[in-house]
Amino acid sequence: MFGLKQKDATLFLVVVAITALAPFLLNPFPENSELAQFNAGYPDLMQRFMIFGIFAIGFNILFGLTGYLSFGHAAFLGVGSYAGVWMLKLLSMNIIPAIIVSVVVAGVFSLIVGYISLRRSGIYFSILTLAFAQMSFALAYSVLTPITGGETGLQLALDDPRIFGVAQTADGSIPLTNFFGLEMRDGIEIAAGPWLFTLNVGYYLSAIVMLASFYVAIRIFRSPFGMMLKAVKSNQQRMNYTGINPKPYTLAAFVISGMYAGLAGGLMVAMDPLAGAERMQWTASGEVVLMTILGGAGTLVGPLLGAGVIKYFENIFSKINDNILYEWFSFMPGGLQDFFVTIIYPFIGKGWHLTLGIMFMLVVIFLPGGIVEGGKRLGRLFSRKKAEGGGSDATPAASPAE
């Protein structure tokens, strides 16, 4: 199906179904209940799931397949964002040219950075990419202010010289980003009893782009090209003596993942047309590394899961403050309530990084294959139980590396 093997096609369809139903699945709690703050089914966050999902899928093509750990991929996302905003400013509020230009510009930039950085491998490669990204960040913040908007970031203005379209709408405001007239902010709200679901144009557009990216990634994983990338990770030296030149393969993987980052950046400005230098900072590069490892580097869905988990934590956990905690523990007597709130407080709200850090350490130590490996282990546990009970032949075969 779709040129995929049965197993991959099933996986792809499951991901399609989940993304299509996400506005419902992520809003399991009624609108006015106490638990409503755990709902993630609002457009802004769901768009971020998709965008960072794309970013991580692309990063995984480089890191997961070839093992080259780039610490500068946020630079490509940032460059893509700037290029996208400029297209919105100069050309049209239609997001398609903006996204295409984002991808192309990020691709060219990653070709330059990759060509130089890939002269080294291992830690030196990582440091080179980090250096490039930090240089880009510093430049965007200072010298390149005319292009990047410096500290304030690059935004749309009321006097943008837009070639196709108007600088201002009739009521004097900045026009909205659209897909051939369909505005990203549009959507319908469905009230089902106490539940409220939002079906948003921007989300579904991001979802389609994410699914396309995911599909391309599956094809790459299963192609001879992907096999060569896995061989780079496994034993790069050996490739030379097998008649293969590993350099163009790693460079191609680098550029492809840079283009994915540019696509994520372009989509970001399509949803919210502004770009800032902080998008290129090393913390942003580190975040995509975390996403990929947390979900499972080198696996197909891992990066998506990792991106989802981290963005959920960032947006939901960070919103819980001590007042909410006091409410939760209000059933306890005063002293005990204070005690529990004091214990838990550092892990939530502004301290969500602490929770994320602990979770990351636990995963790396106990589940080096990330969430995906956790799922597989659970699956094996269940199939073994079934085998013991029903006597079906569940052989945990030594499976080739995915």
């Binding site: 090209f225 992907g226 096999m227 896995k230 050996r238 003596y241 080739p400």
Partner: protein, 252 residues
């Protein structure tokens, strides 16, 4: 003129003469064994042949084309293929993938950007990969992770990887080192079989005289970086120089 010609090759490591004016003329379709005590420069010579190291002086040519200045993958692409002494495989990939990679290398060159092709779309490559696995008897293990194979199986896999490329010249570095007598005999008959069916020229480095004398058409004996004697097996067997070099006079 031979398929492989090495002329006046020198290589110094500091003060050590690893290769001292080495000359070698390997005839097409033959098995040319290089023997000699440890440190004689046999592996260094193979390294020089596949651009793993660069000789200080001298020429190396294959089918009349100089190999010096070429990169390792380019040398491989023109048909010179090496089987390593310690198995060099892709340990994280499946056994089948390990032979698919050289089969692709043979078929699509040193680089091809085909991210949308299916791995098994090219029937010729897939067939070739299965064929060489069958040749070395690893078909039952094709879905195993290569790193999980036993040492003997890893060496057979290496041989299969080389065969998947259908090389013109195969360089074998102690193909039977550390193998049991039974495995050694299997390897000998496998190498003979390959020689007969595919007509691959082979250069074999070997310590096991049983292997050398059952395979080789020509033998070069190296000592201290120098080729001291070259000749047919029967000429080498009784040569006093060889016995001196090896065991200080004891009989082989």
């Amino acid at each position: 003129m031979g398929i492989l010609e090495v002329k006046g090759v020198n290589k110094n490591f500091g003060g050590l003469k690893a290769l001292d004016d080495v000359n070698l003329d390997v005839q097409e379709g033959t098995v040319h064994a290089i023997i000699g005590p440890n440190g004689a420069g046999k592996s260094t010579l193979l390294n020089a042949l596949i651009a793993k190291l660069e000789p200080d002086t001298g020429t190396i040519s294959f089918n009349g084309k100089s190999l010096l200045g070429l990169q390792a993958h380019e040398i491989n692409q023109i048909g010179v293929c090496r089987v390593f002494q310690t198995p060099e495989i892709f340990p994280d990939l499946s056994v089948l993938d390990n032979v698919m990679i050289p089969a692709f290398a043979k078929h699509q060159g040193s680089f091809r950007l085909n991210p949308f092709a299916a791995v098994d779309a090219d029937a010729e490559v897939t067939e070739r990969a299965h064929e060489v696995l069958e040749d070395v008897g690893l078909t039952p293990r094709k879905d195993f992770e290569a790193g999980s194979l036993s040492r003997g199986d890893k060496r057979r896999l290496e041989l299969a990887m080389a065969l998947a490329q259908d090389p013109k010249l195969l360089l074998l570095d102690e193909p039977t080192a550390g193998m049991s007598r039974a495995d050694t005999n299997n390897t000998i008959s496998l190498l003979k079989h390959i020689g007969e069916t595919r007509g691959i020229t082979k250069v074999v480095i070997e310590h096991d005289m049983h292997v050398v004398f059952s395979l080789a058409d020509t033998i070069s004996v190296m000592a201290q970086g120098h080729v001291i004697v070259e000749g047919k097996p029967e000429e080498i067997k009784g040569n006093p120089k060889v016995q001196d070099a090896y065991l200080g006079g004891a009989h082989l």
